[in-house]
């Protein structure tokens, strides 16, 4: 018979299978290092059950403290987003390789890389040491986190634009600011607004966290409730964080809808 009849419709891919096997071996090794034992698992289940039973019902009696924390979280997110976006605009522009010379792109890219590679919590620790406990450290942290994240996205968006309008403006002798305003900005404005609303959302999430290391916001209340084993208050705080983030996600979608038509 011909070879075609014997050919299987789905040929095995030996490279991919070897990859799966390697992945499996790594998983076995890594799980081995985690020291998961049956008694520990049972203790964990027991602890988890007690933990959950203490969380219900959530204790909203100290709602004043809760509201204060949420308000501070919102303040941190709003201020950090405003300054973060404002600072990322020039840095992102300076990092765009199609508009800027190499002496401008390299420093800007280095700033973005450093801001991106450290987790906000590490920045928060350093800023808490530098400016003391409180929302100021949180604001500075999230400004740096915003620069790292949207600075990169801004730069990529600018690098993807069509250069024809830019050349036309240049040929007409437009100065640099007009070039930006009339050739670059119209092409990227919608994406910028998308990034900025996303960053506001991300800052809202992160500002609930920076408080854990003392940088202001609801995170501090959360961590102290955890350390005092007040799990019913912890549950109340978690529920209000989720509610706050859902609200901010809804607002971000609405704002994007306003600008996208």
């Amino acid at each position: 018979m011909s070879a075609h009849a014997a050919k299987r419709p789905f040929r095995p891919n030996w490279g991919a299978r070897a990859g799966w096997v390697l992945l499996g071996i790594y998983c076995l090794y890594a799980v081995g290092t985690l020291e998961i034992t049956w008694p520990r698992f049972l203790i964990g289940l027991d602890n988890g059950a007690r933990f959950l039973s203490e969380m219900v019902p959530p204790n909203f009696q100290r709602w004043k403290l809760l509201l204060e924390g949420l308000f501070e979280t919102m303040q941190i997110a709003v201020i950090a987003s405003a300054f973060g976006v404002a600072l990322s605009l020039p840095i992102g522009l300076a990092a765009a390789r199609n508009l800027m010379p190499a002496w401008a792109t390299w420093p800007a890219r280095a700033v973005i890389a450093v801001c991106r590679s450290f987790h906000p919590v590490i920045f928060a620790i350093l800023f808490v040491k530098a400016v003391g406990f409180g929302p100021l450290a949180g604001i500075l942290t999230l400004i740096f986190a915003s620069i790292g994240f949207i600075g990169k996205l801004f730069a990529e968006a600018i690098e993807e634009i069509s250069l024809k309008p830019v050349e036309a403006c240049r040929a007409a002798g437009a100065p640099f600011m007009s070039l930006l305003l009339y050739a670059v900005l119209p092409q990227v404005l919608n994406r910028f607004i998308g990034f900025a609303t996303y960053q506001f959302d991300a800052n809202m999430r992160n500002s609930t966290m920076v408080g854990i290391v003392g940088a202001g916001g609801i995170g501090g209340t959360l961590f102290s409730a955890f350390q005092r084993f007040d799990y019913d208050i912890l549950a109340a705080i978690l529920l209000s964080i989720i509610a706050l983030i859902m609200c901010s996600e809804y607002v971000a979608t609405r704002v994007k809808a306003v600008f996208n038509d």
């Binding site: 985690l34 020291e35 203790i43 602890n47 040491k129 400016v131 992160n206």
Partner: protein, 267 residues
């Protein structure tokens, strides 16, 4: 009527649109102003910040490279294991939830909503907060960190996965169904080849994020390099802190380069 006398005026936006935009800008400005007025910031501390930062960096230099072998290396390996296993755990949990959320596969709106609820609550809670919860459950250590990373990543992976599933081309699925293929074959030969690039892209992207996050969850006791960092911070051993920060930086950059290279190869 007045076609030649008054030239028609074209406008990019309707008055309602312009009003909406103005409203958004106005409320942003008001929010910012209110926040700036009410936030409890002590300006002296801000002016003092550059001095303090300079002092901090002076104490950090030079990094204490001698202590790498004894308390940084093992913690770094543990961090990578937490990131890898957390991502695997997330994928195992994200597959069923993602399939449940894809409205073209599971045609029960209630299940779609349930999946969406699971994914949103997973994403709303920060990794650090998940880590706190699981440290309370499992006790301090890498296990709590792994589970925390997994639970946080489910929301991310599941959402992208169910979006990828919803964008699948119906042709191959209908062909398989017409040929009488059972459900596992439809999934494996119809859906999987279509979502595989997206799946690996999501995995790599999330692993990259998890490497960063697993470096800090140790601050609340969930294992990895963060524990060493926390100890060094509490003992004010700034030169050791500098070494740990440099190591985290190197690992994060290496992970990002690796992910970029693999993405170019397989996608």
């Amino acid at each position: 009527m007045t076609d030649s006398a008054t030239p028609r005026k074209w406008e990019r936006f309707t008055p309602a649109q312009r009003l909406a935009r103005f409203g958004v800008f106005l409320s942003m400005a008001v929010l910012l102003a209110v926040s700036m007025r009410t936030v409890s910031v002590i300006p002296e501390f801000l002016w003092d910040a550059p001095t303090q930062m300079a002092d901090l960096f002076r104490r950090m230099w030079p990094p204490d490279t001698a202590s790498y072998a004894e308390n940084v290396h093992d913690a770094l390996v543990e961090t990578m294991n937490i990131a890898g296993m957390g991502t695997m755990l997330a994928l195992v949990m994200a597959l069923p939830v993602g399939v449940m959320g894809a409205s073209n596969i599971v045609r029960v709106p209630a299940l779609n909503w349930l999946s969406k609820l699971i994914l949103v609550s997973s994403r709303s809670v920060n990794t650090l907060v998940w880590a706190i919860l699981f440290v309370a459950v499992f006790g301090p250590g890498a296990l709590a960190g792994t589970v925390a990373i997994g639970f946080r990543s489910v929301g991310f992976c599941g959402k992208l996965l169910s979006e990828a599933l919803e964008e699948c081309d119906k042709g191959p699925i209908e062909a398989l169904r017409a040929a009488g293929a059972p459900w596992p074959s439809i999934f494996l030969k119809g859906y999987w080849p279509q979502i595989a690039p997206a799946f690996w892209g999501i995995t790599l992207f999330r692993w990259d994020i998890n490497v960063r996050e697993s470096a800090v969850i140790g601050l609340v006791g969930a294992g990895g390099i963060g524990v060493a960092l926390d100890t060094a911070l509490n003992l004010f051993r700034w030169q050791q802190v500098a070494l740990i920060l440099l190591c985290i930086f190197a690992v994060v950059i290496a992970a990002e380069v690796l992910v970029t290279k693999i993405r170019q190869r397989i996608i």
